[in-house]
């Protein structure tokens, strides 16, 4: 599983990255978490609000930082 955090480096983007890493760790997922800061790449996902989370090239959610437990729930769904 490849998780991408889309964001241009604001505080919320960093919070989301942290939350995503924690969720992955707590779920013992075999996943990589990478940060995408290139705006042209971010726009290619069609979003207008950052931060966003992309799982295997599909946008899971955008424009907010859910709690770790909510991210865990979404990742296991």
């Amino acid at each position: 599983m490849e998780i991408k955090i889309l964001g241009t480096g604001c505080a919320n983007c960093k919070n989301l990255e942290k939350a995503a890493r924690m969720a992955v760790e707590e779920l013992h997922l075999n996943a990589t978490v990478v940060k995408e800061e290139d705006i042209t790449k971010i726009m290619s996902y069609g979003i207008m609000r950052t931060p966003a989370m992309v799982v295997d090239e599909k946008v899971l959610f955008y424009g907010r930082v859910p709690s770790v437990s909510e991210i865990k729930e979404m990742l296991t769904r």
Partner: protein, 338 residues
């Protein structure tokens, strides 16, 4: 299920809110005069009373309004706003973009993707600017603080003049046809298909309201405290009419000076409004104070630096110039009327 249960518990907090809010005056009196045993009428007592009364009042107001606005905002999104603005003529587009700028969830860190998303779908530059001016300037935190510290009339004036500036400044920028000053790569960008919108239940929306409270109040409470502490100091210690000689109506250059000082100063509404409220009490003119507030909140250096990625420098300066002029007009107008 868990969300539902939590929501019920949260709703039960509402009566507690009302009890505290409507007994604040009495609670503050008890605390200051009986518990702290301070003498009525001294400068220090005045300041302490002001601080102990205003901080919980403003925080309580913020909590409830941000909660309600947070719920309302779940029905709005930049994606929907963009769709509503597509194909609108210049003036209508400016009006709609400014009004939608108030209710659409926006954070200055999303200014770039939002700008790109708007331009990409063919929304005119001037209409996009109306949105980018209104969204940060007219926000719920500013409205709550103005309502709490000045009353509903000033809050309405702020919203009204803010809208006026966003509409006209966007319209002027549109008329100037400044597309050449947008970075070239913006027009070659290929944005992807927008992802599907999430479906929310009513319980999800209430939960989002609480998330908004946690996020925004968690961020601004410290500025509210500092702002009110400075305001309390001014309230208790600065002599009456002290500000009249710098920021009074009779000082003609006070409006442009306030705008010039306000642009590089960066603070959010939560920090600046309590201080401005104390300044007005000490004789600063409303128009001058309004202009200062708008320049600080509406024109911020960090946002300009963010926008520099997509806009060439002449456009940034035009943007500051046009909005600054609008603020100037508002300042003079209100000094003239009141």
């Amino acid at each position: 299920m868990k969300t539902k249960l939590l929501n019920y518990i949260r709703i039960l907090l509402l009566p507690l809110w009302f009890i505290i809010y409507f007994n604040l005056g009495w609670l503050t009196d008890t605390l200051v005069y009986d518990v702290f045993n301070m003498t009525k009428g001294t400068h220090l007592t005045e300041s302490v009373w002001f601080f102990i009364f205003e901080v919980p009042k403003v925080l309580l107001l913020l909590t409830i309004i941000i909660f309600v606005v947070g719920i309302i905002r779940t029905w709005f999104s930049p994606e929907r706003t963009r769709k509503a603005l597509e194909g609108k003529s210049l003036f209508t587009g400016n009006v709609m973009a400014s009004v939608l700028g108030i209710v659409t969830p926006f954070c200055s860190c999303s200014a770039i993707p939002l700008f790109l998303g708007f331009v990409e779908s063919g929304i005119p530059l001037g209409v996009t600017f109306s949105f980018l001016i209104a969204a940060p300037m007219i926000n719920e935190v500013a409205i709550v603080l103005l309502f709490g510290l000045f009353g509903w009339k000033t809050a309405l004036i702020y919203v009204g003049t803010g809208l006026f500036i966003a509409i006209t400044a966007g319209w002027v920028i549109g008329k100037l046809h400044l597309e050449k000053w947008v970075e070239d790569w913006v027009y070659t960008l290929k944005a992807g298909q927008a992802p599907e919108e999430e479906k929310l239940t009513f319980n999800d929306r209430i939960k989002r309201g609480f998330e908004a409270v946690k996020e925004i109040v968690g961020k601004v409470w410290i500025y509210v405290m500092i702002g009110i502490a400075v305001g309390a100091g001014v309230h208790g210690f600065v002599p009456q009419d002290f500000m009249a000689s710098f920021m009074g109506e009779s000082v003609w250059y006070s409006v442009p000076l306030s705008v010039l000082i306000g642009i590089p100063l960066y603070s959010n509404a939560a920090g600046i409004i309590p201080i401005v409220s104390a300044l007005i009490e000490k004789g600063a003119a409303l128009g001058t104070a309004l202009a200062f507030m708008m320049a600080v909140i509406g024109l911020s250096l960090p946002e300009m630096i963010i926008l520099r990625k997509v806009l060439k420098l002449p456009l940034i300066f035009t943007f500051i110039g046009v909005v600054g002029t609008g603020i100037l007009i508002v300042g003079y107008l209100f000094n003239f009327i009141f």
